[in-house]
Symmetry: C2
Subunit: 223 residues, 2 copies
């Protein structure tokens, strides 16, 4: 962490927070990840070495605690860390309004599905098992097909056919679904455009937007 040599609280905070990847790790912790592995899924392009370094910085700064429970290791936010939520929110709200342009490299189906998976609204689902298949038709196989196996208790994400009967299948270009997820495009618009289709019973087609919540920043009004 390089110093600014300023007593200003913005400068002191940024000495920690402007280190590359740091805010994204905080975002992941706020989103509920606690283990090294889960954190890695949220920042897959980061090397484990660097993630480890950043976690040590954050612990040293008093933002997270690292504690071992038996053989497993958990990272949790401290009070200082939890209070970074308002910073993350301010940044995200600004970002979705003023940094709307996405590049090719920003469309990562793995990251998207990880995000979708952990935000399924379990309460809204019908009883029993609901299996949703995603096909990103413009992606090579290996990135194309994904399955969410949802019960009232949990959601499993698979990148292979888990074998259960599929309740509904979403077929869409990846970029379009990312836009829907971010709230740049409304579900309705996506449906009506014909680019995003849902195969399955009417009940599934109608309720899908309630089961799959969008990004926390989707409701932010746009300029």
């Amino acid at each position: 962490m390089t110093q600014y040599g300023q007593f200003c609280p913005v400068a002191k905070a940024m000495e920690l927070l402007d280190e590359r990847w740091t805010m994204l790790i905080v975002r992941e912790l706020i989103a509920g990840s606690h283990t090294f592995g889960d954190l890695q899924r949220g920042v897959p392009k980061m090397s484990p070495t660097l993630l480890s370094t950043r976690l040590r910085s954050l612990a040293r700064a008093g933002v997270i605690d690292r504690h071992e429970q038996g053989t497993r290791v958990y990272y949790t936010l401290t009070q200082a860390g939890r209070e970074l939520q308002s910073v993350v929110e301010a940044i995200g709200q600004w970002g979705i309004r003023w940094m709307p342009e996405l590049g090719e490299e920003d469309f990562d189906p793995h990251l998207l599905m990880w995000d979708v998976q952990r935000n399924v609204d379990l309460e809204a689902l019908p009883p029993g098992r609901t299996v949703l298949q995603f096909s990103f038709r413009d992606r090579p196989s290996g990135q194309r097909d994904w399955w969410l196996v949802c019960t009232q208790a949990e959601v499993d994400l698979c990148d292979f056919d888990p074998g259960h009967p599929v309740s509904g299948r979403i077929d869409t270009p990846l970029a379009l679904f990312v836009r829907v997820w971010r709230g740049d495009v409304k579900w309705d618009q996506a449906f009506r455009s014909g680019e995003l289709t849902v195969d399955g019973p009417t009940a599934v087609r109608r309720n899908l937007p309630r089961w799959l919540t969008r990004s926390d920043f989707a409701p932010v009004p746009r300029p």
Copy 2:
């Protein structure tokens, strides 16, 4: 600007905002600096080359406009830039609560006086000219003595005796006054400790805390 390869609005925002010095430049713009020279005073440890580079990044991102007026050049915040105020505020509020430790190199009298100067409450001053001298007694000459020449219209900062009669003289260790400025220590505490003294008429001694406003973050409650 290095990319994160994520569609998340926090990631997209941080691609711009986590570049070293960037938030401090935004802070300066929000504080009211518009010219290259004024901005430099707010980030004196930054080389002009780098400041220039960052200003170009910010302009490219749509956060500031650069425009020439005759021979002078002005930088102004766009709507996107003005909306960064909530981000700066969230960061500063977090910073003053959770990054309270300052190092030796954070105590820069020049930066402090620049900050004090632009926040004098002109309305609160008595009619006519008020000259306030600061002596940071633990600093070498050259950094020790400063004068604020205040009128109802403006405040001038001098690092040499401007020759006017002095209305009041504040004598204090630099660190203590920084702490008062940041709101870590109350005026009263500083007075009572005997470490900070004010020479001058009672009226000056009593009103000084109203003339010299503190940092915007001083009122933030501490953990």
